[in-house]
Protein backbone atom coordinates (compact mmCIF):
# COMPACT_ATOMS: atom_id res chain seq x y z
CA UNK A 1 0.00 0.00 0.00
CA UNK A 2 2.74 2.40 0.98
CA UNK A 3 4.50 1.71 -2.26
CA UNK A 4 1.31 1.98 -4.22
CA UNK A 5 1.00 5.45 -2.74
CA UNK A 6 4.55 6.24 -3.71
CA UNK A 7 3.90 5.00 -7.21
CA UNK A 8 0.77 7.11 -7.46
CA UNK A 9 2.75 10.17 -6.47
CA UNK A 10 5.32 9.66 -9.16
CA UNK A 11 4.11 12.13 -11.67
CA UNK A 12 6.55 11.52 -14.49
CA UNK A 13 4.77 8.61 -16.11
CA UNK A 14 3.27 9.64 -19.41
CA UNK A 15 0.10 7.60 -19.68
CA UNK A 16 -1.49 8.71 -22.91
CA UNK A 17 0.40 8.46 -26.16
CA UNK A 18 0.77 11.85 -27.74
CA UNK A 19 1.59 12.85 -31.20
CA UNK A 20 4.94 14.42 -30.85
CA UNK A 21 8.18 12.97 -31.86
CA UNK A 22 10.97 14.68 -33.65
CA UNK A 23 10.45 18.43 -34.01
CA UNK A 24 11.62 20.55 -36.93
CA UNK A 25 13.98 22.63 -34.80
CA UNK A 26 15.94 19.55 -33.73
CA UNK A 27 16.72 18.23 -37.15
CA UNK A 28 20.14 18.25 -38.73
CA UNK A 29 20.79 20.10 -41.96
CA UNK A 30 22.72 17.20 -43.45
CA UNK A 31 20.07 14.76 -44.76
CA UNK A 32 22.36 11.71 -44.54
CA UNK A 33 23.21 12.46 -40.91
CA UNK A 34 19.59 13.22 -40.11
CA UNK A 35 18.51 9.90 -41.64
CA UNK A 36 21.02 8.10 -39.43
CA UNK A 37 19.72 10.02 -36.43
CA UNK A 38 16.17 8.91 -37.21
CA UNK A 39 17.25 5.30 -37.55
CA UNK A 40 19.10 5.43 -34.24
CA UNK A 41 16.20 7.17 -32.52
CA UNK A 42 13.93 4.30 -33.52
CA UNK A 43 16.26 1.87 -31.79
CA UNK A 44 16.27 3.73 -28.47
CA UNK A 45 13.51 3.44 -25.97
CA UNK A 46 11.88 6.43 -24.38
CA UNK A 47 12.44 5.69 -20.70
CA UNK A 48 9.48 7.53 -19.30
CA UNK A 49 6.99 6.24 -21.85
CA UNK A 50 5.49 2.84 -22.38
CA UNK A 51 7.11 1.02 -25.26
CA UNK A 52 7.77 4.02 -27.43
CA UNK A 53 11.02 4.89 -29.11
CA UNK A 54 12.46 8.33 -28.53
CA UNK A 55 11.63 9.06 -32.16
CA UNK A 56 7.93 8.60 -31.43
CA UNK A 57 7.73 10.30 -28.08
CA UNK A 58 6.78 13.79 -27.05
CA UNK A 59 8.33 13.42 -23.59
CA UNK A 60 10.96 16.08 -22.76
CA UNK A 61 13.59 13.46 -21.92
CA UNK A 62 13.02 11.81 -25.30
CA UNK A 63 13.55 15.17 -26.90
CA UNK A 64 16.79 15.70 -24.97
CA UNK A 65 18.03 12.29 -26.07
CA UNK A 66 17.13 12.99 -29.70
CA UNK A 67 19.14 16.19 -29.54
CA UNK A 68 21.98 14.32 -27.85
CA UNK A 69 22.01 11.64 -30.55
CA UNK A 70 22.26 14.33 -33.20
CA UNK A 71 25.06 16.12 -31.38
CA UNK A 72 27.06 12.93 -31.11
CA UNK A 73 26.52 12.16 -34.78
CA UNK A 74 27.45 15.68 -35.81
CA UNK A 75 30.56 15.32 -33.65
CA UNK A 76 31.62 12.34 -35.74
CA UNK A 77 30.46 9.39 -33.61
CA UNK A 78 29.66 6.12 -35.32
CA UNK A 79 26.21 4.58 -34.78
CA UNK A 80 27.68 2.08 -32.33
CA UNK A 81 29.42 4.83 -30.40
CA UNK A 82 26.16 6.73 -30.03
CA UNK A 83 24.36 3.61 -28.78
CA UNK A 84 27.23 2.94 -26.37
CA UNK A 85 27.08 6.52 -25.10
CA UNK A 86 23.41 6.11 -24.22
CA UNK A 87 23.67 2.60 -22.80
CA UNK A 88 26.61 3.65 -20.59
CA UNK A 89 24.16 5.97 -18.85
CA UNK A 90 20.86 4.12 -19.04
CA UNK A 91 21.83 0.49 -19.46
CA UNK A 92 20.78 -1.99 -22.12
CA UNK A 93 17.14 -1.33 -21.22
CA UNK A 94 17.10 1.62 -23.65
CA UNK A 95 17.81 -0.63 -26.60
CA UNK A 96 14.65 -1.75 -28.36
CA UNK A 97 16.78 -4.36 -30.10
CA UNK A 98 18.24 -6.09 -27.04
CA UNK A 99 21.91 -7.03 -27.37
CA UNK A 100 22.83 -10.71 -27.58
CA UNK A 101 24.12 -11.62 -24.12
CA UNK A 102 23.50 -14.48 -21.68
CA UNK A 103 20.31 -12.89 -20.36
CA UNK A 104 18.86 -12.66 -23.84
CA UNK A 105 20.10 -15.89 -25.39
CA UNK A 106 16.72 -17.48 -24.89
CA UNK A 107 14.98 -14.43 -26.33
CA UNK A 108 16.94 -14.50 -29.56
CA UNK A 109 17.36 -18.24 -29.93
CA UNK A 110 13.99 -19.33 -28.55
CA UNK A 111 12.06 -18.95 -31.79
CA UNK A 112 14.61 -20.60 -34.13
CA UNK A 113 15.11 -23.41 -31.60
CA UNK A 114 11.38 -23.95 -31.42
CA UNK A 115 11.09 -23.98 -35.20
CA UNK A 116 13.82 -26.60 -35.45
CA UNK A 117 12.32 -28.70 -32.68
CA UNK A 118 8.85 -28.51 -34.22
CA UNK A 119 10.12 -29.30 -37.72
CA UNK A 120 12.16 -32.18 -36.29
CA UNK A 121 9.11 -33.58 -34.51
CA UNK A 122 7.03 -33.37 -37.68
CA UNK A 123 9.66 -35.27 -39.65
CA UNK A 124 10.05 -37.83 -36.87
CA UNK A 125 6.32 -38.44 -36.52
CA UNK A 126 5.86 -38.68 -40.28
CA UNK A 127 8.70 -41.21 -40.56
CA UNK A 128 7.44 -43.31 -37.70
CA UNK A 129 3.94 -43.39 -39.15
CA UNK A 130 5.16 -44.24 -42.61
CA UNK A 131 7.33 -47.00 -41.20
CA UNK A 132 4.35 -48.35 -39.28
CA UNK A 133 2.20 -48.23 -42.40
CA UNK A 134 4.89 -49.66 -44.67
CA UNK A 135 4.39 -53.17 -43.32
CA UNK A 136 0.73 -53.80 -43.98
CA UNK A 137 -0.82 -56.96 -42.60
CA UNK A 138 -1.01 -59.60 -45.33
CA UNK A 139 -4.46 -60.06 -46.80
CA UNK A 140 -6.52 -62.87 -45.41
CA UNK A 141 -7.88 -65.46 -47.83
CA UNK A 142 -11.32 -63.87 -47.61
CA UNK A 143 -9.96 -60.39 -48.36
CA UNK A 144 -7.95 -61.72 -51.26
CA UNK A 145 -11.06 -63.35 -52.69
CA UNK A 146 -13.09 -60.14 -52.40
CA UNK A 147 -10.31 -58.03 -53.86
CA UNK A 148 -10.08 -60.28 -56.85
CA UNK A 149 -13.83 -60.11 -57.25
CA UNK A 150 -13.73 -56.29 -57.21
CA UNK A 151 -10.86 -56.13 -59.64
CA UNK A 152 -12.65 -58.65 -61.78
CA UNK A 153 -9.65 -60.79 -62.52
CA UNK A 154 -8.71 -64.25 -61.35
CA UNK A 155 -5.43 -65.23 -59.79
Amino acid sequence: MRRALAAALVAFAVLAPEAGAVEPGEMLADPALEARARELSRELRCLVCQNQSIDDSAAPLARDLRVLVRERLAGGDSDDQVIAFVTDRYGDFVRLRPPFKPETWLLWLGTPALLLAAAGSVVLIARRRRAAAAVPAPLSAEERRRLDAVLGEGP
Binding site: M1, R2, R3, A4, L5, A6, A7, L9, V10, A11, F12, A13, L47, V48, P60, L61, D64, L65, L68, T87, D88, R89, Y90, G91, F93
Partner: protein
Protein backbone atom coordinates in the same frame (compact mmCIF):
# COMPACT_ATOMS: atom_id res chain seq x y z
CA UNK B 1 5.14 -41.37 -26.88
CA UNK B 2 2.68 -40.77 -24.07
CA UNK B 3 5.02 -38.33 -22.37
CA UNK B 4 4.98 -36.12 -25.46
CA UNK B 5 1.38 -35.29 -24.65
CA UNK B 6 2.49 -33.95 -21.27
CA UNK B 7 4.77 -31.34 -22.82
CA UNK B 8 2.06 -28.68 -23.32
CA UNK B 9 0.86 -29.15 -19.75
CA UNK B 10 4.40 -28.87 -18.37
CA UNK B 11 5.12 -25.76 -20.45
CA UNK B 12 1.89 -24.18 -19.31
CA UNK B 13 2.61 -25.03 -15.67
CA UNK B 14 5.96 -23.27 -15.95
CA UNK B 15 4.30 -20.24 -17.56
CA UNK B 16 1.59 -20.07 -14.89
CA UNK B 17 4.19 -20.40 -12.13
CA UNK B 18 6.25 -17.50 -13.47
CA UNK B 19 3.13 -15.36 -13.95
CA UNK B 20 2.12 -16.16 -10.38
CA UNK B 21 5.56 -15.31 -9.02
CA UNK B 22 5.59 -12.04 -10.93
CA UNK B 23 2.09 -11.14 -9.79
CA UNK B 24 3.29 -11.68 -6.23
CA UNK B 25 6.46 -9.65 -6.80
CA UNK B 26 4.60 -6.64 -8.18
CA UNK B 27 1.71 -7.02 -5.75
CA UNK B 28 1.05 -4.83 -2.72
CA UNK B 29 4.32 -3.79 -1.11
CA UNK B 30 6.27 -5.29 -3.98
CA UNK B 31 8.56 -3.97 -6.64
CA UNK B 32 7.51 -1.48 -9.24
CA UNK B 33 7.26 -2.70 -12.81
CA UNK B 34 8.49 0.63 -14.15
CA UNK B 35 11.46 1.33 -11.84
CA UNK B 36 14.74 0.74 -13.63
CA UNK B 37 18.07 -0.18 -12.08
CA UNK B 38 20.82 2.36 -12.60
CA UNK B 39 23.52 1.47 -15.11
CA UNK B 40 26.01 3.33 -12.94
CA UNK B 41 25.83 1.31 -9.71
CA UNK B 42 29.32 0.84 -8.22
CA UNK B 43 30.77 3.14 -10.82
CA UNK B 44 32.34 6.50 -10.15
CA UNK B 45 29.95 9.41 -10.42
CA UNK B 46 30.12 11.02 -13.87
CA UNK B 47 32.38 13.96 -14.45
CA UNK B 48 30.50 17.23 -14.31
CA UNK B 49 30.70 20.82 -13.08
CA UNK B 50 27.53 22.81 -12.53
CA UNK B 51 27.22 26.50 -11.63
CA UNK B 52 25.67 27.63 -8.36
CA UNK B 53 22.06 28.75 -8.01
CA UNK B 54 22.32 32.51 -7.63
CA UNK B 55 20.95 33.74 -4.35
CA UNK B 56 20.61 30.31 -2.77
CA UNK B 57 23.60 30.95 -0.55
CA UNK B 58 25.37 27.67 -1.33
CA UNK B 59 28.11 26.97 -3.90
CA UNK B 60 27.78 25.06 -7.15
CA UNK B 61 28.38 21.33 -7.57
CA UNK B 62 31.09 19.44 -9.43
CA UNK B 63 32.36 15.86 -9.54
CA UNK B 64 35.35 16.92 -7.45
CA UNK B 65 33.01 17.79 -4.56
CA UNK B 66 32.03 14.14 -4.27
CA UNK B 67 34.21 11.53 -2.58
CA UNK B 68 36.02 11.70 0.71
CA UNK B 69 32.70 11.38 2.49
CA UNK B 70 29.33 9.69 2.07
CA UNK B 71 26.78 11.91 0.39
CA UNK B 72 23.33 12.02 -1.15
CA UNK B 73 22.83 13.63 -4.54
CA UNK B 74 19.24 14.64 -5.11
CA UNK B 75 17.85 15.73 -8.48
CA UNK B 76 14.98 18.15 -7.94
CA UNK B 77 12.94 20.92 -9.52
CA UNK B 78 10.40 23.40 -8.25
CA UNK B 79 7.88 22.30 -10.90
CA UNK B 80 8.05 18.72 -9.73
CA UNK B 81 5.16 17.90 -7.40
CA UNK B 82 6.62 14.71 -5.87
CA UNK B 83 9.80 16.67 -4.98
CA UNK B 84 7.73 18.63 -2.53
CA UNK B 85 6.52 15.39 -0.98
CA UNK B 86 10.02 14.12 -0.24
CA UNK B 87 11.43 17.48 0.79
CA UNK B 88 10.73 17.21 4.56
CA UNK B 89 12.57 13.87 4.61
CA UNK B 90 15.64 15.41 2.98
CA UNK B 91 15.49 18.22 5.51
CA UNK B 92 15.40 15.70 8.35
CA UNK B 93 18.36 13.80 6.88
CA UNK B 94 20.33 17.02 6.51
CA UNK B 95 19.58 17.93 10.11
CA UNK B 96 21.06 14.57 11.13
CA UNK B 97 24.29 15.53 9.43
CA UNK B 98 23.97 13.69 6.12
CA UNK B 99 25.66 15.61 3.32
CA UNK B 100 23.03 16.31 0.66
CA UNK B 101 23.86 17.89 -2.68
CA UNK B 102 21.23 19.11 -5.09
CA UNK B 103 21.04 19.11 -8.86
CA UNK B 104 18.39 21.61 -9.87
CA UNK B 105 16.95 20.10 -13.03
CA UNK B 106 15.60 22.27 -15.85
CA UNK B 107 14.25 24.92 -13.54
CA UNK B 108 13.86 28.68 -13.57
CA UNK B 109 16.31 30.27 -11.10
CA UNK B 110 13.70 32.51 -9.47
CA UNK B 111 11.24 29.59 -9.09
CA UNK B 112 13.93 27.45 -7.51
CA UNK B 113 14.97 30.22 -5.14
CA UNK B 114 11.38 30.86 -4.07
CA UNK B 115 10.81 27.14 -3.60
CA UNK B 116 13.86 26.78 -1.35
CA UNK B 117 12.97 29.95 0.55
CA UNK B 118 9.52 28.52 1.26
CA UNK B 119 10.44 24.92 2.06
CA UNK B 120 13.96 25.39 3.44
CA UNK B 121 17.29 24.39 1.89
CA UNK B 122 18.65 20.99 2.91
CA UNK B 123 21.41 21.11 0.27
CA UNK B 124 25.06 21.91 1.03
CA UNK B 125 25.68 22.58 -2.62
CA UNK B 126 23.35 23.07 -5.54
CA UNK B 127 24.36 22.69 -9.16
CA UNK B 128 22.11 24.21 -11.79
CA UNK B 129 21.48 21.81 -14.66
CA UNK B 130 19.53 24.08 -16.97
CA UNK B 131 19.80 21.86 -20.06
CA UNK B 132 19.34 18.55 -18.28
CA UNK B 133 22.55 17.29 -19.85
CA UNK B 134 24.27 16.46 -16.57
CA UNK B 135 21.18 14.56 -15.46
CA UNK B 136 21.48 12.44 -18.60
CA UNK B 137 25.10 11.69 -17.63
CA UNK B 138 23.72 10.44 -14.33
CA UNK B 139 21.16 8.30 -16.13
CA UNK B 140 18.27 10.28 -14.67
CA UNK B 141 14.90 9.56 -16.26
CA UNK B 142 12.46 10.91 -13.72
CA UNK B 143 12.53 13.70 -11.21
CA UNK B 144 13.07 13.38 -8.31
CA UNK B 145 15.92 10.90 -8.15
CA UNK B 146 18.28 10.33 -5.25
CA UNK B 147 21.76 8.80 -5.38
CA UNK B 148 23.92 7.58 -2.51
CA UNK B 149 27.64 8.23 -3.11
CA UNK B 150 30.32 6.51 -1.07
CA UNK B 151 33.58 7.95 0.20
CA UNK B 152 35.38 6.86 -2.97
CA UNK B 153 32.96 8.88 -5.05
CA UNK B 154 31.14 5.84 -6.43
CA UNK B 155 27.38 5.59 -6.93
CA UNK B 156 26.09 2.89 -4.58
CA UNK B 157 22.35 3.30 -4.73
CA UNK B 158 19.77 5.07 -6.84
CA UNK B 159 16.16 5.77 -5.98
CA UNK B 160 13.71 6.92 -8.63
CA UNK B 161 10.68 8.94 -7.59
CA UNK B 162 10.03 10.59 -4.25
CA UNK B 163 11.69 8.92 -1.29
CA UNK B 164 9.17 7.87 1.32
CA UNK B 165 9.71 7.41 5.08
CA UNK B 166 10.22 3.66 4.68
CA UNK B 167 12.80 4.22 1.92
CA UNK B 168 14.74 6.42 4.32
CA UNK B 169 14.44 4.01 7.25
CA UNK B 170 14.95 0.74 5.39
CA UNK B 171 17.40 1.72 2.71
CA UNK B 172 19.02 5.11 2.82
CA UNK B 173 19.93 5.53 6.51
CA UNK B 174 21.28 1.96 6.89
CA UNK B 175 23.32 2.35 3.68
CA UNK B 176 24.72 5.72 4.69
CA UNK B 177 25.62 4.32 8.10
CA UNK B 178 27.30 1.27 6.58
CA UNK B 179 29.26 3.26 4.00
CA UNK B 180 30.41 5.75 6.63
CA UNK B 181 32.00 2.97 8.66
Amino acid sequence: MRTAFLVPLAAFAALAAVLGVYLYQVGPGGKSISALPSALIDQPAPDFALPALDGAGVPGLAASDLGGHVALVNVFASWCVPCKVEHPLLTALAKDGVAIYGINYKDKAEDARAWLARLGNPYRRIGVDATGRTAIDWGVYGVPETFVIDAKGRIRYRHVGPIMPFDVDEKIRPLVRELAR
